[in-house]
């Protein structure tokens, strides 16, 4: 399988605080990778470095073999290949549901309005939000917003989708509807990198689990190995706390 993202010796510091230390990690096409770890372990920073919302302090990031850190003029084109779903949804507040999914397609991908609407409708149907086309973000519940945000990312038809704690800002009863959509996407063969605290979900959907602690990847293995047979003390300690 083709490698979509390959990260080598990635480091990131905010001032003197080193958040990521020599991180090596790659994702192949069709893989679903969950990144777990306690708060402050650098999971979100890692994810945000992948599409350069944060500029890495060192290391390289390859997208389909191309080094994107030395090739920054194509940054915006590169970003269209990676969708991002945020913890705080970040739907465009000035747009209704349909326009949220259309805007990037028409302005960045230069698709025609009709084509963009057709694509948007297809993915809004996937996330079950196709009946709320003219609702504004402020009128939707958290779970609905996040499903629209997923549809917005899918509408760009990216090679991979990055999820930054997509359910952490949701009320407990809304977590299920978002995870259900994500499970279906995982089954459909979409490449996904998911930062999450939902352990059961991670175990169920992942092809691989990456456990991070204090800015380094401690363990990178199949869910079965990580959950049932963790090799490191730190992983064991975290899982003990997280699975309680």
């Amino acid at each position: 399988m083709e490698t979509i993202i390959d990260i080598q010796h990635l480091s990131k510091s905010f001032g003197t605080h080193e958040v990521l230390k020599d991180v090596n990690f790659s994702v192949k096409k069709g893989e679903v990778v969950c990144v777990i770890g306690s708060s402050g372990s650098g999971k979100s920073t890692l994810l945000r470095c992948i599409n350069l919302l944060e500029t890495p302090s060192g290391g390289e990031i390859f997208y389909k073999g191309k080094n994107i850190l030395t090739n920054k003029q194509n940054l915006n084109t590169f970003r269209t290949h990676l969708g991002m779903v945020f913890q705080q949804f970040n739907l465009f507040n000035n747009c209704d549901v349909l326009s949220n999914c259309v805007l990037g397609q028409t302005k960045v991908l230069k698709r025609s309005k009709d084509e963009a609407k057709e694509v948007a409708m297809r993915y809004l149907k996937v996330v079950g939000m196709d009946r709320y086309l003219n609702a504004r973000p402020s009128q939707l519940s958290g779970g609905q917003k996040q499903r629209v945000a997923i549809a917005r990312a899918l509408s760009m038809q990216p090679d991979a989708l990055l999820f930054d704690e997509p359910t952490s800002a949701l009320d407990p009863e809304m977590v299920g509807e978002v995870l259900k959509v994500m499970k279906e996407l995982a089954k459909s063969g979409l490449t996904m990198i998911i930062v999450t605290h939902e352990m059961e979900f991670a175990r169920e959907v992942s092809d691989r689990i990456v456990f991070m602690d204090k800015g380094v990847i401690v363990e990178d293995d199949t869910p079965d190995e990580v959950f049932n047979n963790p090799k490191h003390e730190r992983t064991k300690a975290f899982l003990n706390r997280a699975l309680k």
Binding site: M84, L103, R136
Partner: protein
């Protein structure tokens, strides 16, 4: 003082009052619109990413310095003084004999621009970082982010402050009588100079100003409500899709 005098003044001078009020409205309206545009442009220039590149960074630094001087100068001096300096200065220094109305619109515009630049800056700062990030994450560049995502939200947020500026402009154009602009205050002064009824004449002017500002405020409220969008949305059912197949595609 008597009611007769009010009626006399109005019946004898209503064309002058109207012309003055019209001039006041024209100057303050055009001045507010141009000023708001200046403010928006400055606000957007202030948000251009500085980047690492040498030439672009220096150019931006110089532009920002000039803009800071502009804002500080026009916010820090009274408009009545600016009017004198611009109107007589343009003649003395550059030999330009400015049309008075043009001079008036010019002064109100750049004065409003200086205030609006700050209002817009605050408006852009009030937009959550997540909106910028979401736009960048789908591949939008700085200008696309600004035009399609940030500025529409900024405009809605700054509308009350802009309306406030507009109302202030309607009142403050009265200082432009010092350069002989025939706005409402100037006209009233002429009327009162003829009939020596200062209180009654200016009381009429007072009411006209009040009517103008109240009407403008109400119009702006209407726009605010319009811009905040429909309070309801429609949940589309299958029947809607059948009736409107263009949306079901």
């Amino acid at each position: 003082m008597s009611l007769e005098w009010f009626i006399n003044i109005i019946t004898n001078n209503w064309p002058m009052f109207l012309r003055g009020a019209w001039m006041t409205l024209v100057i303050s309206t055009i001045g507010t619109i141009i000023g708001a545009l200046i403010g928006l442009i400055i606000g957007v220039i202030n948000t251009i990413p500085k980047g690492n590149g040498g030439a672009k960074k220096w150019l931006l630094k110089i532009i920002n310095a000039i803009l800071t001087i502009y804002v500080e100068f026009f916010r820090g001096t009274p408009m009545i003084v600016q009017a004198m300096v611009v109107y007589y200065g343009s003649d003395l220094l550059f030999g330009i004999d400015m049309n008075r109305t043009f001079a008036a619109i010019f002064i109100v515009s750049i004065n409003t621009g200086a205030y609006m630049a700050e209002i817009v800056r605050g408006g852009i700062m009030s937009i959550e970082q997540g909106q910028f990030e979401a736009a960048r994450a789908i591949g939008m560049n700085h200008w696309q982010t600004m035009i399609h995502v940030v500025l529409p939200q900024v405009m809605r947020n700054i509308l009350p402050a802009t309306g406030n500026q507009y109302v202030m402009n309607i009142k403050d154009t009265s200082v432009l009588n010092v350069i002989g602009v025939t706005e409402l205050f100037f006209q009233t002064k002429s009327i009162a100079g003829n009939n020596f009824r200062y209180f009654e004449s200016f009381f009429v002017a007072c009411l006209i100003y009040l009517v103008m500002t109240i009407i403008v405020t109400q119009i702006l409220r209407f726009f605010e409500r319009k811009l905040s969008g429909n309070a309801n949305y429609q949940i589309l059912d299958d029947a809607t899709f059948i009736r409107r197949p263009e949306q079901a595609k």
